[in-house]
């Protein structure tokens, strides 16, 4: 696993290091799968491994992670977003994220927390994804204010979220507008339903 509380002196080391194959339970129950599809689609990417790295400007971790505040990029197999001046989020397959974090020098004022279970992640994708987002979020989603690779903390349907523009490439090679939205897990079903409702008018 990504980050463990393994500093406990009284913990007994586990004999068998392998993790049983327990499914990640997403809180989102998609009642009507058709409603999540269409020209704007909604997908649940909650099971993706997610880490938060906090680092002060003068740390090795901050230099290694780079990026300007408010921007994000794919870096190899993981995705890195500098969501706050001193916070980066790293997502991807578990082993990739673990590897990346393991390589970081967390010396100085730096730390990391596994947020896989505390933050859910949805994707809103489609030509009119920005219009759907405008129904639930006051950010300006125009290309000049929120280009691909930008990110910001914002309220979405009155829930505190992180919003990242991460366009995808469609089957025909064309770029399709897409937003990743992260929120506290407990709001998951509410927010997913609010997003389904927001995109309904666009099909």
């Amino acid at each position: 696993m990504l980050v463990s509380w393994n500093t406990m002196p009284t913990s007994i080391p586990k004999e068998n290091g392998s993790v049983a194959d327990i499914q990640f339970e997403s809180p989102v129950i998609i009642v009507d799968p058709a409603a999540a599809c269409g020209s704007v689609t909604l997908t649940d990417e909650s099971s993706m491994t997610k880490a938060s790295v906090r680092a002060a400007d003068d740390t090795a971790a901050a230099s290694a992670l780079g990026l300007a505040f408010g921007s994000a990029e794919h870096r190899g197999d993981v995705f890195v977003a500098r969501i706050r001046p001193d916070e980066w989020m790293v997502f991807g397959a578990a082993d990739m994220v673990v590897a990346m974090i393991a390589e970081l020098d967390l010396g100085g004022y730096a730390s990391t927390v596994d947020i896989t279970h505390s933050r859910l992640m949805f994707r809103v994708t489609g030509g009119e994804a920005a219009k759907a987002m405008e129904k639930v979020c006051s950010l300006d989603f125009s290309d000049h204010m929120a280009p691909n690779g930008s990110c910001a903390g914002a309220s979405v349907a009155k829930v505190g979220c992180d919003v990242i523009r991460d366009d995808i490439v469609g089957a025909d090679g064309a770029t399709i507008r897409s937003y990743r939205i992260l929120c506290d897990r407990s709001f998951g079903q509410y927010l997913f339903d609010a997003l389904v409702d927001a995109k309904a008018e666009f099909g």
Binding site: F69, G70, R84, P85, S138, A152, G153, A154, S155, G160
Partner: protein, 89 residues
């Protein structure tokens, strides 16, 4: 809706922020008299005019900062300061 210039995020709606009121300094709690301490707790200048005040960008960067805002006209002056100290400068 007031547009509040966060020094990190840029201009954001006031609803993305926590308003934390008039900037004032915390006296040394061990040295303060009752009067000084309660002046800190309760008394305010509350001017109809320029006010230095604290904001917290709760939805965005989660950083505190200070603004100078005119409480009657809503105008702002001087760039916002990333908030290090609550005390008025």
């Amino acid at each position: 809706m007031l547009l509040v210039p966060c020094p990190n995020c840029g201009p954001r709606n006031a609803t993305d922020m926590n308003y934390r009121g008039e900037a004032h300094s915390r006296p040394d709690p061990d040295a303060a008299t009752k009067e000084e301490w309660r002046t800190y707790l309760y008394l305010r200048d509350n001017p109809s005019g320029w006010l230095r005040e604290n904001w917290y960008c709760s939805s965005g960067c989660r950083r505190h900062f200070q603004l100078e805002r005119h409480t009657l006209t809503g105008e702002l002056r001087n760039p916002p300061l990333p908030g290090r100290k609550t005390a008025g400068a």
